[in-house]
């Protein structure tokens, strides 16, 4: 049986969330909270109170019907139900479909360039801000937006070489790196790599890349590993990994808590070849997944599974350590430019030159080695070749999109959900 409802529909219940009242002590981490949901069921001629444990903030609560007296809590991490008569709880709904609706776009100072993964997002929970970066030729546009949607501030970083004030070089990618102790903004251009504090205020490090006498315009395929201290600019190059023969297109990592998860880094190149690594004092190559001469433009690592997007428009899911192909999706009609995964909910976002952003749901069980991928939603950005798409938070509640020649960041939030109950 499938249930669906509109997120804008009024909830028939009064719910106290995150108020700190009624003895609830919320613990805010990244905008989610751990604690109790206190329910007060009003309007039935009596008052009833319920407590429910939720590890994620419920986004939507719906009362399905008076006869089933079933209450559903949708978080993007899980869908819980509670039968009101006997307070029985469980999690056994499948997310079938989500409809999204537009949120106000963020205007940029210039348009986005056609580069892979041309959007990076960083949530700063303590300050209730989100940073977005989009590359335009030799400039990084940074926008900082407050969560209440009222304040926007812009900053532009220009790629430059500290010694030679002549040419400004084109930027290949700008990305936020969330390290355990600090966040950095890494900007890579043809001439070198710059690292900034996450707000773009100070450049903390510059690494010049060798410029060969006869520039070929294609990088060598080396992966540079930097040691970053928790404060300050004493960043050093610790290792150079030379396994790839072609230009590196994307790198993905996963900080896995579980000991069983061996691999925590994957690198992809222009030939579609991928290398799987384990970090440590020295990086260890665990596996090589050969490509089929098609560029892998975007790669992510989640629960030990490599999620790769290709120039042919295909998405493939591989088991990182063994290279076993779990799934293959004919996802897009043109070159894929960006993939993103929301780690807490298993939502996958793919975006391509074909003007489409697609949302998928992944279900991966490492223990049983089973993988499922289901299609949830299509979003067409008319007449735009999309070059960046990212979830705005770890739950995948909202996502943001950039496109070539577009001077805005388009945003979407869920409008309605459809779930089915396991029988």
């Amino acid at each position: 049986m499938a249930y669906s409802w509109d997120c804008s529909r009024e909830v028939h219940l009064d719910v106290w969330l995150n108020t700190g009242a009624q003895g609830v002590a919320p613990d805010q981490i990244n905008g989610c909270w751990r604690g109790h949901v206190k329910l007060s069921l009003c309007g039935f001629g009596h008052q009833e109170k319920r407590n429910l444990n939720c590890t994620r903030q419920p986004r939507q609560i719906a009362y399905l019907s008076t006869d089933t007296k079933l209450l559903l809590f949708i978080t993007t991490g899980e869908i819980r139900w509670m039968r009101l008569e006997n307070k029985r709880q469980g999690i056994n709904f499948n997310l079938l479909r989500t409809m999204f609706h537009k949120e106000k776009s963020i205007q940029l100072k210039n348009s986005a360039s056609a580069l892979y993964n041309n959007l990076s997002v960083l949530r700063i929970a303590p300050r209730r801000l989100t940073y977005f970066t989009v590359v335009h030729a030799n400039v990084v546009n940074m926008v900082s937006t407050s969560w209440d949607g009222l304040n926007y501030s812009h900053r532009q970083l220009q790629s430059k070489e500290p010694n030679v004030a002549t040419s400004t070089s084109l930027i290949m990618q700008a990305a936020f790196c969330a390290l355990p102790s600090r966040d950095l903004l890494v900007v890579s251009s043809q001439k070198g790599i710059q690292m900034y504090e996450s707000d773009g205020s100070i450049m903390v490090y510059w690494h010049a890349l060798d410029t060969p006498e006869a520039p070929t315009g294609v990088s060598s395929g080396a992966v540079l590993v930097f040691d970053v201290p928790s404060k300050g600019s004493n960043i050093t190059l610790s290792e150079v990994l030379e396994e790839h023969k072609e230009a590196i297109t994307d790198i993905a990592s996963e900080c896995s808590g579980s000991q069983e998860c061996l691999a925590n880094l994957v690198t992809a190149d222009d030939g579609g070849n991928m290398c799987v690594w384990k970090s440590g004092e020295e990086f260890q190559l665990l596996n090589k997944i050969p490509g089929l001469d098609i560029t892998c433009s975007s790669v992510k690592l989640w629960k030990g599974t490599v999620l790769a997007g290709y120039g042919t428009g295909q998405i493939r899911l591989y088991e990182a350590v063994t290279g076993i192909l779990h799934a293959e999706v004919n996802a897009h009609a043109r070159w894929i430019y960006s993939l993103d995964v929301a780690p807490f909910s298993g939502l996958l976002l793919s975006a391509a030159e074909d003007s489409f952003v697609r949302v998928w749901h992944l279900a991966i069980t490492p223990e049983t080695n089973s993988v499922e991928i289901a299609h949830l939603h299509n979003e067409c950005v008319t007449d735009t070749q999309i070059c960046g798409a990212k979830f705005c938070d770890g739950d995948g509640y909202a996502f943001a999109v950039t496109g070539y020649d577009l001077s805005e960041i388009i945003r979407r939030v869920p409008a309605s959900w459809t779930v089915s109950q396991d029988t």
């Binding site: 210039n110 348009s111 360039s113 056609a114 580069l115 335009h136 030729a137 004030a165 002549t166 040419s167 084109l170 043809q190 006869a214 520039p215 070929t216 315009g217 294609v218 072609e246 230009a247 297109t249 222009d270 030939g271 001469d293 098609i294 560029t295 120039g311 042919t312 428009g313 295909q314 076993i324 192909l325 779990h326 799934a327 293959e328 999706v329 004919n330 996802a331 897009h332 009609a333 043109r334 070159w335 074909d354 003007s355 489409f356 080695n369 993988v371 499922e372 991928i373 289901a374 299609h375 299509n378 067409c380 008319t382 007449d383 735009t384 070749q385 070539y404 020649d405």
Partner: protein, 380 residues
């Protein structure tokens, strides 16, 4: 970005320029022999051996300013004259046409097919003149040699480099608006229907595999578009059916070529001399330009009895109006360089070069480069 972009940019823009000039020559009823001379002269200059040698060297893409200067020179390589406004319009049309072709290429590699479409048409223009024909054939060889070994990823890099060059250009072109391939806001229509590129499957299928590699499940999803199977592969050789229509002459049917300028600010879109303030980037570009245009022979503007003017607008009044009303932000700021044996011009060039000497420049290359430049000019 890619250092192999310039030849493709030049050849495709050149091809578009020839399509437009050919159409205007016919529309203005220029006598056939004169028209043919113009086309032959321009094509000969475009495919000058020394010029192409410079062009095909691995290098960064020129700025818009520098490239516009090259095409200015090219357009005046014969007895035909164009006024400022017509030249601006010509360049607008050329660039928007190629931008459209680059955007709509199903695969990055198809840019080469688009280039071959232009080359095929150029070859047809000069099919009666063996000497020029052989130049064109040689260029085919160079293209094939340089580009056919490239991977898809390298072509995508070339495409991305071209897209950066064309970024934020949204000039509305009448023909595109009429054919509904461009919206009234200047952005091109990107269809979500039609054939998928070769090598891509129609979106809609999910396949799940077991650990041993057998297919466990197949699921379908709706792709939101209306796609069909890929067309057959086009030919990447000197001859053959290119399959794609991108890069073919859309002006064959006589249609007016108007552009609409957005913005109403008045501007004096004159040739601007290179800024005298020390600008190291311009210096480097000047060097490149001079090297490149060393190979471009220019007709002396002296004898004007066989010369004539081509107008890209319907009337002279319209042309004048266009010049006055062209918005500031759309002016190309052409660099004025005369690579002739004219003494005064040489002196001016040396002077400009001299002004770019930076005191902190250790290699003191300014003077030696200036001398090389003069030597190159003198060699013409």
């Amino acid at each position: 970005m890619s250092t192999r972009t310039l030849p493709l940019l030049f050849i495709n823009l050149g091809g578009e320029m020839l399509y437009i000039l050919d159409q205007r020559l016919r529309a203005q009823n220029i006598p056939a022999d004169k028209a043919k001379k113009v086309m032959n002269d321009i094509i000969t200059t475009m495919f000058n051996k020394k010029f192409l040698e410079e062009l095909f060297k691995p290098q960064e893409l020129y700025s818009k300013k520098a490239l516009r200067t090259v095409f200015d020179r090219l357009a005046h390589a014969s007895i035909m004259r164009l006024n400022q406004a017509s030249m601006d319009k010509l360049y607008d049309l050329m660039t928007m046409a190629f931008k459209y072709q680059v955007l709509l290429c199903p695969r990055p590699k198809d840019i080469l097919l688009v280039s071959f479409n232009h080359m095929d048409a150029i070859k047809d223009f000069v099919k009666d003149t063996p000497s020029i024909l052989s130049q064109v054939d040689e260029t085919y060889q160079q293209l094939i040699e340089m580009y056919t070994p490239l991977s898809n990823g390298e072509f995508q890099l070339i495409r991305q480099t071209l897209l950066i060059f064309f970024q934020d250009m949204h000039i509305r072109v009448s023909i595109f608006l009429k054919d509904k391939v461009q919206n009234s806001n200047g952005r091109f229509v990107l269809p979500t229907n039609g054939p998928v590129p070769r090598g891509t499957q129609i979106p809609g299928l999910i396949r799940i595999f077991s650990c041993s590699g057998e297919e466990l499940t197949r699921l379908q999803f709706s792709n939101g578009g209306n796609y069909s199977s890929a067309l057959r592969e086009g030919s990447f050789e000197m001859f053959g059916n290119r399959v794609t229509k991108l890069g073919t002459n859309m002006y064959s049917v006589s249609r007016p070529v108007e552009t609409h300028m957005s913005g109403t600010s008045k501007s004096s879109a004159q040739h601007t001399k290179v800024n005298a303030a020390p600008n190291p980037l311009a210096k480097e570009e000047l060097n490149m330009l001079a090297r490149l245009m060393g190979g471009l022979e220019v007709q002396k503007p002296g004898s004007t009895d066989t010369g004539f003017r081509v107008n890209l607008f319907a009337t002279d009044e319209e042309e004048e109006e266009a010049l006055i009303s062209r918005p500031n932000e759309l002016s190309y700021g052409v660099i004025s360089i005369q690579a002739t044996k004219d003494q005064q011009a040489n002196a001016e060039l040396t002077k400009i070069m001299g002004e770019f000497t930076e005191s902190g420049d250790p290699s003191s290359s300014a003077s030696s480069k200036g001398e090389d430049l003069l030597a190159l000019m003198d060699g013409l």
